[in-house]
Subunit: 269 residues, 2 copies
DNA sequence: CGCTGCTTTGAACAACTTCAACTTCTGTGG
DNA sequence: CCACAGAAGTTGAAGTTGTTCAAAGCAGCG
């Protein structure tokens, strides 16, 4: 039944030039991000239903906005390729980078509550996204319990991740922050089938510093220090992780000065 | 700054609290938190369906746990009265307070993704909660689109709030953090029909400091400073907000350097 | 080639932490 | 009801981390 429909659908949406693999209108079924995205754990005709409500937009160029602060919320977005940053303006005219978004990751979940985007999203490089009109998605989740479950899971994960970051910002030293950041990126690349030890950072030092709540200079110094210690090789945006264990150690604790924490005493009360 | 006044306040503080109202099994329909909680925008027989899946547990005593780290996730919880803190253990055996929860607020949303609680929840005072078995809730949201919508809204709000806190932790000075914290508490009390200018903090300075990513001593000093500047009156846990505008100004910007309260000509926007 | 924006480096400085002592509060048992 | 011990909060002084300011090195691009 649906093969035909799907073909028709694809033809209808196939109006822009096919430049490269990034702009191809891949069905969810064939998308390599399948397992990371909303369709995880959905298949068959259900997947096609989801597929049908998704709009695949033309790729964004570097520095183009996906949405602006205060923009009306109507869709959530999934990164298909490339990357974006989200950031909010602060009272004093600065901006605070609230997140980086790699392929398979969702954007816009923070806007559901108020109906408008509390942050802006800007492409860090050439980036393509799937647009999922939220109203349609809500309707579809009524039909597909597993889709609803997946949506809730993804939102929950976002809450969880945010809390991890809060912990980072509240308690960790500069080197712990950068280390944790690099490990997080590394892990996310790995989950997407890329190398976890060698990658390019699409964001500037400034964005990293902003995200981690540090001054650019501090981030730069930390990169230098890690390199001197042989833990990483950093040539501009090209990163090579040499010693993952060391990084995990640094990211984990290193409270302020010395370590020697082999304490087993779990506080229970 | 009036010792007589403060002494009087102190005496009033020691009045015993009658808690029998708190333990009554109120139906959602009659709950004063109706508008803040899941049932918002549901009514009639639908509300009764929700009511039926909710379990009202016996009140928790101060320092009792609602759930522990790593505990199996099966329900989300709504605070009915009292308050709780959530906190996660850090690698080095410390704990990081991730939030305070007042009546009408949800707990456990961060556990949906992994199926177990990434943080523990402990009562700060005598506290009663509603338990909402998640599986039942998920089923019910399939029937009641508005309930689903409300759940998504609440989760989205949590994401949004977390991002606000990230901003606080990443960019703000100690006084800005404390000021923003007090304003947040004030607002939440107001939404619950309590005074927004005079309230009791159920959490210790230690918890506040931990939550804000500061040392206890720093928080203490900031309280003292605010009091000296006449912005608040703080007698232990009893807080009186005298100058909301000043607090908003301090919470908003006040980049790094200090200035006196008289200073009106600061950068706006 | 010279401009611009991004990154790195150095030195002085400020904010916050840590350490330590002291005060105030709370609750428990005599 | 009071005394006492432990917890919680406050205050001061010294010490660190990270910031700010200033300037120089590097890549990209017209």
């Amino acid at each position: 039944m649906n093969e035909m429909e799907l073909a028709t659908h694809r033809k209808k949406t196939h109006q822009s030039k096919v430049v490269d693999i990034l702009t191809t209108k891949v069905a969810c079924k064939e998308c390599s991000l399948h397992q990371l995205c909303l369709p995880s754990s959905i298949d068959g005709s259900d997947l096609e239903k989801l597929d049908r409500i998704i709009e695949r937009k033309r790729p964004l160029k570097r520095n183009e906005h996906l949405f602006q602060v205060g923009g009306t919320f109507s869709s959530i977005y999934v990164v298909r390729s490339g990357s974006l940053k989200t950031y909010s303006p602060t009272v004093d005219g600065q901006e605070q980078v609230t997140g980086f978004h790699l392929p398979g990751e969702l954007l816009g979940l923070d806007a559901i509550g108020k109906g408008q985007h509390p942050c802006a999203a800007k492409a860090l490089e050439t980036t393509s996204v799937c647009e999922v009109p939220f109203e349609n998605l809500e309707h579809l989740t009524q039909e597909l319990p597993t889709l609803q479950h997946q949506l809730l899971r993804l939102m929950s994960k976002e809450i969880f991740d945010d809390q991890e970051l809060m912990l980072l910002l509240g308690k960790k030293t500069a080197e712990a922050r950068l280390s944790a950041f690099l490990l997080s990126i590394s892990l996310r690349f790995k989950q997407r089938g890329f190398s976890s030890t060698e990658f390019y950072l699409s964001m500037s030092r400034n964005d990293i510093a902003n995200y981690l709540g540090l001054a650019v200079e501090t981030v730069s110094r930390m990169f230098t220090r890690f390199q001197e210690d042989g833990i990483i090789n950093a040539e501009r945006k090209h990163i090579l992780i040499n010693n993952r264990e060391a990084m995990q150690r640094i990211a984990g604790m290193n409270d302020c000065c010395e370590e020697t924490v082999s304490d087993e005493n779990q506080k229970s009360v």
